[in-house]
Structures are given as structure tokens and as C-alpha cells.
Symmetry: C2
Subunit: 339 residues, 2 copies
């Protein structure tokens, strides 16, 4: 019966189109190497709100408005929202969804959340359960720091392997009409834990999950690096990316320049940002602002986006647990003529 499943990978019979997408970031991301690509920039990281959390919510609302405004979709057309974020109880996604008269499904894959949402959204579309799905995810440096690490006011010193949470949000509209790219496949990851305990080095904790999902994807679909113009991980950062390359090389997979990481691309200044960016917003913003436009422009044709997430909590760290990780993937490619 499961004729669309091979191993851990799905092949969509009717691939959903991405009919609209948008990105918003904070001022630091806007000053980084990818700064020119983002659709919206929030000059004030609180977005004029009283708290970081309300600011994160405002960013998401703004990027949804932008995404709807630049598409032919109205909120009434949307069958489901599938969304999540890093905050306890997914409060950004829930509180944003409160403002819409649309059924809501909360999902959590840590920083892989947007890819989990796009996976489930594609399944809803292809399975005959929806004609339009809104997916979004967000993260915010300040809300994440105070929840996961130490209050910013403590002046915690950054180590070179630490990553900096990207402030921003990406929104995606799945539909049937319009758009120039579609989602043709998904691969759902397993929880992988090789025993890394250092929360300053999440890239190393997540690299094995990314390797597992990429290798599984290739095996399931009988594909290899030659089938992709780009393999883009979410937020491994520079150290995690190096570890991923090592793990893939052990399996005789050489990705070379075809492997890029959203977090490493967004923050390049190692003195300030350590190993690069992290957070749901790393992949959520960059795929919308840079990758999809590159596909539309004809500079890329088929991209494997591998969202990566560290599934720990501050409590599990205190209880001396290691950091389980996960990676979910989607294939985004140009819709061929007549597609």
C-alpha cells in the first residue's frame, strides 16, 4: 500500500508547488554575507515589542503577511498551518496561529523544524488532504540564548566551536497553481546520538544525523552527489560541516563544493559568530531568500535541503545526557515545463 515510500524516503506523485515564500531576519543577519538576499529586515530585534518573545512572534507575522502579499493566496485559501520553533511549548508558532482562522499542527524537530513541516505539508498535499498549506519556523538569538544557555547579560564567552542563533523566520506556501519550484521527495530522519555532550558544539552532535539521512536518501532513491547541484545542510556550522564531510568520505562520498551549510553561510565572522549560525531560521530563511531564487534563475536545478536538529533540552544537559540529533530532508527542484 505504501507505494510512495522507499526506505525512509517519499516520492510524491503530485509534487506540491512552492507558490510563495518569504524570509525575515534581524539586523546582524542583514549585515552578513547573505544580507542582501533576505526579503525583510527587522532593524530592532524586538520588532517594536516589549519582549524578545513577542518580537519573534511579530517577525513571523510580518513574514507571513509578506509571503501572502507576494502570492495569489489569501488566508481563506489555506487549509492547514504546519509550524514550530525552538521555544518551550512552541509558543511562537501557537501564538502566531491564534491570529488565523486556520487549522494548526505544531511540529518540533529543533532546528530541522521547517523541513519537518515541509515534509508533512507535502504529504498532506500529495495524499489528497489539502490544496494549500502554510509552513513556517522561526528562531531568535535572544529568546534562544535565555532559554537554552545563559542570560545574555552574564556575558558568556563564545568559544570557537559555538554557534550563534539566527534571528529570523521563513514562511512557505504549498499549492498547486503557480510557483516555479516543487518538492519532489522527502527523507525522514532517525534520532542519532553518538554521545556528544558539549552544547557549545551542536554541529558535531548533529553531523552524524545529517550523514545518516544523506546516505539513506542516496540509497533509497538510488542517487548520488551527481544527481544534485547542491546539498544544503541547515545549521551544522563550519565544524559540523567538516565533520559531515569526514563521515561521508568514510563512505566514499565526496561532496566538495556541492556541500554548503546555511548557518555557515549566514554568519562568516568567526571572531564574533564562532562556527556560524544555528536555529530554525538558518534554513528557513536561506532556502526562501537565496536557494529558491537561485533555482528560479537557473543557477541551480535540483537541491537536497537537509534540516538538522539537536533534540536536547537544558534539563537533559543538567542530567548529564548526551545530545540526540535528527536530520530531515526535502528535494526542491525546478518545475519542468508542463509540470
Amino acid at each position: 500500500m505504501a507505494d510512495k515510500l522507499q526506505g525512509q524516503s517519499l516520492t510524491y506523485e503530485n509534487p506540491p508547488h512552492i507558490v510563495g515564500q518569504g524570509s525575515i531576519v534581524g539586523p546582524e543577519e542583514a549585515e552578513g554575507p547573505m544580507g542582501n538576499s533576505f526579503d525583510l529586515v527587522c532593524e530592532d530585534v524586538k520588532c517594536g515589542e516589549k519582549t524578545w518573545e513577542k518580537g519573534e512572534k511579530k517577525m513571523v507575522s510580518d513574514v507571513i503577511d509578506y509571503t501572502l502579499g507576494s502570492s495569489s493566496i489569501s488566508p481563506d485559501d489555506i487549509d492547514f498551518i504546519i509550524a514550530g520553533d525552538l521555544l518551550d511549548q512552541l509558543i511562537t508558532a501557537s501564538f502566531v496561529s491564534r491570529d488565523y482562522d486556520i487549522p494548526f499542527l505544531g511540529v518540533f524537530g529543533a532546528c530541522s523544524t521547517i523541513i519537518e513541516a515541509l515534509n508533512l505539508g507535502s504529504m498532506k498535499m500529495d495524499g489528497g488532504f489539502a490544496d494549500c498549506v502554510l509552513c513556517f519556523a522561526s528562531s531568535n538569538y535572544q529568546t534562544a540564548e535565555r532559554q537554552f544557555r545563559t542570560p545574555i547579560e552574564y556575558g558568556d564567552q563564545y568559544t570557537s566551536n559555538k554557534q550563534w542563533t539566527v534571528t529570523g523566520s521563513g514562511a512557505y506556501l504549498l499549492g498547486w497553481l503557480g510557483g516555479q519550484v516543487w518538492i519532489t521527495h522527502s527523507t525522514i530522519g532517525k534520532v542519532i546520538d553518538l554521545g556528544v555532550k558539549d552544547t557549545q558544539d551542536l554541529g558535531s552532535a548533529m553531523a552524524p544525523a545529517a550523514a545518516d539521512t544523506i546516505l539513506q536518501h542516496f540509497m533509497d532513491l538510488n542517487r548520488g552527489p551527481q544527481d544534485y547541484d547542491l546539498i544544503l545542510t541547515g545549521d551544522l556550522g563550519r565544524i559540523g560541516k567538516k565533520n559531515l564531510n569526514t563521515l561521508l568520505n568514510e563512505k566514499n562520498i565526496e561532496l566538495g563544493d556541492k556541500l554548503q551549510d546555511c548557518g555557515a553561510m549566514i554568519f562568516s565572522d568567526e571572531n564574533k559568530y564562532g562556527a556560524g549560525g544555528s536555529g530554525c531560521a538558518a534554513s528557513a530563511t536561506l532556502v526562501a531568500s537565496h536557494i529558491i531564487p537561485e533555482i528560479i534563475a537557473g543557477n541551480l536545478n535540483r537541491v537536497l535541503v537537509v534540516g538538522t536538529g539537536a533534540l536536547f533540552s537544558p534539563l537533559t544537559v543538567l542530567q548529564n545526557e548526551s545530545i540526540p540529533s535528527i536530520a530531515h530532508a526535502v528535494v526542491i527542484e525546478k518545475i519542468p515545463e508542463g509540470g
Copy 2:
């Protein structure tokens, strides 16, 4: 294209069978009115582990083992795990899934989580994306109290409208072969917030979401109370259930004894447990231990299970936000002969 969607409700062409289910609870639940129905009882609420969180994880592992053991399914047969819990970053679900070589999707709908998981699992099955899905959810009085309210050692006084988190977990295996009940429909809820701010009274916060989903379900499928033998809410408790009845009566819907609530059923002693039980485990345990057996025994035929969740966090309470809520529903019914 979305031929299985009417409004917010899905009708499955090939309804997945529930081919195995199991429940585990703590000692207090075992002493309550439903105590005899649960499959497993953990006499020590830490399940022999060092922390409440590790104890919650152990309960879930035990109930998965039980559920697999009482079915013809082995872990190798399972295509996906869809699961969640109340703890920050869904650590119970993630850490349990680490022990399995199975792709994992984390979902969060607060106390409606098991119903969200069954919704998405049914979609995976009917859409051609899976042949076997494991869904589970859990909650634990101690882990929830210290995360959401005040440490137990403070001796916080219970008010009569407060609810008591159910310690337990329920696991469900969706498949095609075997089982005597199936999931024929789902209704995905919207985020509803009528401004309730009292975290001692989550039943009142969630009742409007339950009413909205029940009314929507009836409208979408052109059904009414006469089409169900039981409409079972997750964890409204006695006060929320009363509020739900009032809201439905305003729409000329009289459910009478057909409306029951898992939380109210599990804990009846008002002096100790206030308005009744709450938590993911309320519906997750009772549907597995009591409702499905009642359907199999022929005492019930078709049941609408309405999972209810309060989507707040301790931080949103401190920031003076009200409590957004959600309710997701599934229809569980006896598989007719030849089904």
C-alpha cells in the same frame, strides 16, 4: 485535488487499522475508577530511574514493548514514529525514539498530542506513505508540575478547579492487517483563545477549542450526536466538561451522557484531584485501555475522540498572555466485517 478534505475534516479512503495499543500508568491512576483497565502499572513513579524525566521515558519504553509484544508487529516493520509529550523540546519522545532505528517525527499539541499523532499517522497510511506507524504520547505528574507550575516540595495548595497531570503513556500501532478498530476520519483544530489566563483552570481555557472542533466536525461530515455512541474529550476535567456542555447547548447540541472526559474519568476524588486529570496521558491511556476494548466488546460502535491542549508556556504566563488552546479529533470505530 484535496478529495479527502471537507472543511477541517479528513475522510480516509483506506482507514488505517489500530493493530495494537497499550497503556501504562502510575500508582495513583491505578487506584482510581479506571484503575482496572490499564495494561501496565508502574508502582514506583520514577520506574526505578534516578529522575522523574528518566522515569517518564522508562514508562514509554515499557508501554511500547508491551504494545509490540501483544501485536504481530516488530520494530523492523514500523515505518515511522510520530510522538510527543509535554516536556520542553519533547525530550521524552526524542530520547525514547533514540533507542529505535526508525524515522521519527516530533509533534506537539500539548495534551492533544496523541490525537495529533494519530491524525498524522492515519494520513501517512492512507496517503500511501507508510504501512505501519507507531504513535505515542506521555505525561507525568512530577515532570509536569516542576516544569509548568511550582516544585512539588513547595506544597502548592490545590484549588477545586485545578487538574492533576496523569502519569502514564499510551502507544498505538497503525497497520493494515489485524486489529478490530480503525480510524475513519480526523478533524484538525484551530488555535482558539477566549482570554482565559488562569493556569489553575485549563479546562475552561480548552472548552471553547473542544466546542469549536466538535461543531466543525459535525458540520463538515453532516453528522450530529446521533452518529456517535460516545464523544470523549481528552482532559477538560469536570469544569471544562461543564463549560463545553454549555457552549454546545448554545448551539442546540445536547450530548447528555454521550459526553465523557478522560481526565474526569481517571481521577474522581475531588478533594485530592480537583477538577480531574490532565496531560497527554489522559486520552493516550484511556482510549487504549478502555475505549478500544469497549468497541471490540460491542458496547460502543463509533467514538469521536477529541484531544484537547492548552498551548501556553510558563514564560507566556509570566508575560501576562492568555492561554491559547486547540482540539484535534479522530473517529475510531469497529471495523465492519469485510472491512
